[in-house]
Amino acid sequence: MTIEIKTSMLEPVRHTFAHIERRFGDKPATRYQEATYDVQSETNFHYRPLWQPDLELNDPRRTAIQMSDWYAFKDPRQFYYGSYVQQRAKMQEAAENNYAFFEKRNLANHLSEELRASLIRFLVPFRHVEHTANLNNVYGAAYGYGTAITQALMFDGMDRLGMAQYLSRIGLILDGNSGDSLVEAKTQWMSADIWQGVRAICEEMLVTKDWFELLIAQDFVIDNLVANLVYEQWDEHLVANGGQDVAMLTEFMRVWHKDTARWVDAVIKVAAAESEENQLLISDWVTKWRGKAAEAFAPLCNEMLSENALTDALLVMDKRLAKAGVK
């Protein structure tokens, strides 16, 4: 026998989990809060990892940054898995339409030989940079501390794989799926002079051990340059030279960089506001990687854009940093 129950009659015993209540009070919590706060184990680990016996399995000491509460890194986008995939599914649907339209109308055929060559030379090799970014962000997901920041790093890491794949698809559109353009782009990446600085800095990030330093190097410094140089300045250059349709294929990246910069800036702001020490670390890391990146990108910039391009991009970076409260 089932008995009709009026839903309004049932009073909950509590509104959320105890750790959420301790942070936000006994009131209905958001899905982001319940999925994020205090989910990671913090104590009583059973064994030291064989691969790093001086540290615990989850250990805040894998970066020099120190936080009294690692859950201060609230994601302004409030991404947990569900909201993250919904958001990206929307972006990919738009991208899919763009790619389909581009291919259906054979827009690649309207590009001059010169333009096609420069796409292969300047744009497609960035798929290797995205791949580096994939590894660097997954590194933070693996070794970072607290769900708030590690989940965001994981999402970022997967995004970068997605963008590496989009860039690869651009190559395949250009070469009619033969893969020749990808081979050519890789040759550029491996041996063209203009790319060696960028490749060297990618390799250097891949051997960098402090995950927060990597976040600064990759997600702030390098990404800032890529977003500005490739998806803004070079995009304008393409528009001016009959390549305006290419923007359809890179729109995903432009939207993505805008969206993600909000999160990166919030992370930097919170970490820097925590203490003088953090502030100093961050500004040292920015100085270090900004210098290396400027040197690494200069030859590419000069060929791809102009001598001033890099200066403009660095200016954007400095403004962002100041806004995040780092001197």
Partner: protein, 500 residues
């Protein structure tokens, strides 16, 4: 230009596999430093066969569709107070074990696969691990969200995260995953990717999800089904890892065999809790633990190991012992929890007469002979108002951390004790399987955070057990623990049903 049609394999290779490169400016070993210390030999990562070829755009698309459906049902579940449609409030105690004991393992899987997803030198393997990592994050989060509504109406869910790090029986699942994560990346993959996800996962998820279905729990059924296509990917990854390791170098065979032996044993110990849940905690039974073991391990696993024989891999060690254990472990475990029911974050109870009869029928060779008399005695004591709780703290196995509750399988009246000496100390084990694991790596297992030892050492507050339960475990004493009969959970249920 004519556009060539690409098959999936070529497309995936072009889009993904060619992204990596040979380093010129740094030592690649510095970038992937953990590939060699376990003794595994990888001669050629390019031989890796991608177990699934999913690009990120399709991943986002499919997963978003699944999430949309799942959350629509979770929303409906809470709006309609779906918790009132379950079979019996005792059922919810299985969910409490799930959220406090299993969901945090999904989290550890997320972390472990993030690590292999960063550390493997081969991009095919890395990307597959990364996808599993983010899937596992999905699992922990959807489980929290599915249980969120139960937490509002039942006790024992509210401190799942705090308790996972502390409560005595939760150190069993926690240490299992800590063990895998503390190992090297290849052992982790054999432990979790293969032994757990491929060989044993059906024994964890099928019982929980069918249990949910049989007991009217739409929220759990839905996340279970929704996770199924993720799990299918995880299983193919687990199998590919094994085949890849075995094909890469013959020296890998004995190492992999040792890991299979270890993780198979550790996995079956972990599943004791599932055995107990199936036989005792589900008001509407799905099948007995014994039957589940026969279907999902003896038949399915038997075929798998026959297939692996061509690589020189044999059945896991102690498979014969486990065959005998299926007759006993659920009974021994529930008895232990029943008698320690004051120290658990969920409720325990004596099975009803109908349930005792079901157990007699399902376990004709053992239940009436060894276990039914205990329950009849407990029932009588309870009727006299003398519900029995043992005061002693149990001794724990140093490896699996389960109380010494298992018997010799050839003599179910005799508790099984094994021990080893290491650096002037004696360590105790529940079985030969656990002793072997210790003897192979004593320096690892002497570190075990054994909850009972920790209590005796004063690391969990006290001095009384009740202080520890209340302050260190954050169990609401008198509310979350003790018998189901007379619990606030039961009272609320009766109010909802108008039978109070």
């Amino acid at each position: 230009m004519a556009t060539k049609k690409l098959n999936l394999k070529d497309k995936y290779r072009l889009l993904t596999r060619d992204l990596d490169w040979e380093f010129s400016y740094q030592d690649r070993k510095e970038a992937f430093p953990y590939e060699e210390f376990e003794g595994i030999k990888i001669t050629d990562w390019s031989k890796w066969e991608d177990p699934f070829r999913l690009t990120m755009d399709s991943y986002w698309k499919y997963q978003a569709e699944k999430e949309k459906k799942l959350y629509a049902i979770l929303d409906a579940f809470s709006q309609n107070n779906g918790q009132t449609n379950i079979s019996d409030p005792r059922y919810v105690n299985a969910l409490k074990i799930f959220l406090t004991g299993v969901s945090p393992l999904e989290y550890q899987a997320y972390q472990g696969f993030a690590q292999t997803g960063r550390e493997f030198g081969g991009i095919g393997a890395r990307v597959a691990c990364q996808m599993q990592s983010i899937d596992e994050l999905r699992h922990v989060q959807t489980q929290i969200h599915a249980m969120s509504h139960y937490n509002k109406f039942f006790d024992g869910f509210q401190e799942f995260s705090h308790q996972h790090d502390r409560i005595w029986y939760l150190s069993v699942p926690k240490s299992f995953f800590n063990d895998a994560r503390a190992a090297g990346p290849f052992e982790f993959m054999v432990a979790i990717g293969f032994s757990f996800e491929y060989v044993l996962t059906n024994l964890l998820f099928v019982p929980f999800m069918s249990g949910a279905a049989y007991n009217g729990d739409m929220a759990t059924v839905t996340f279970g089904f929704s996770a199924q296509s993720d799990e299918a990917r995880h299983m193919t990854l687990g199998l590919e890892v094994i085949k890849f390791l075995l094909e890469q170098h013959e020296d890998n065979v004995p190492i992999v065999q040792k890991w299979i032996d270890k993780w198979f044993w550790r996995g079956t110990r972990l599943l004791t809790i599932v055995a107990m849940m199936m036989d005792y905690m589900l008001p509407n039974k799905v099948m007995s633990w014994k039957e589940a073991w026969e279907v999902y391990f003896e038949e399915a696993g038997g075929a798998l190991f026959k297939d692996l024989a061509r690589y020189g891999i044999r059945m896991p060690k102690y498979a014969e012992t486990i065959e005998k254990e299926k007759e006993h472990i659920s009974h021994q475990a529930w008895w232990t929890f029943y008698t320690h029911g004051h120290a658990t974050g969920f409720h325990t109870w004596v099975p009803s007469d109908e349930e005792l009869d079901w157990l007699s029928e399902k376990y004709p060779d053992t239940f009436d002979k060894y276990y039914r008399p205990r329950w009849e005695m407990a029932k009588e004591m309870e009727a006299k108002g003398e519900r029995f709780y043992t005061k002693a703290l149990p001794q724990l196995c140093t490896v699996c951390q389960i109380p010494m509750l298992f018997t010799e399988m050839d003599d179910p009246t005799q508790t099984c004790y094994r021990s080893s000496d290491y650096e002037e100390n004696k360590y105790h084990f529940c079985s030969d399987g656990c002793k072997d694991i210790f003897d192979d790596e004593p320096e690892k297992y002497v570190q075990s955070w054994l909850p009972v030892h920790q209590i005796f050492q004063g690391n969990c507050g006290g001095p009384d057990v009740e202080d520890i339960l209340r302050d260190y475990y954050r169990i609401n004493v008198g509310t979350d623990n003790m018998d189901m009969k007379g619990s606030p959970d039961e009272l609320r249920w009766k109010e909802w049903k108008g039978t109070a």
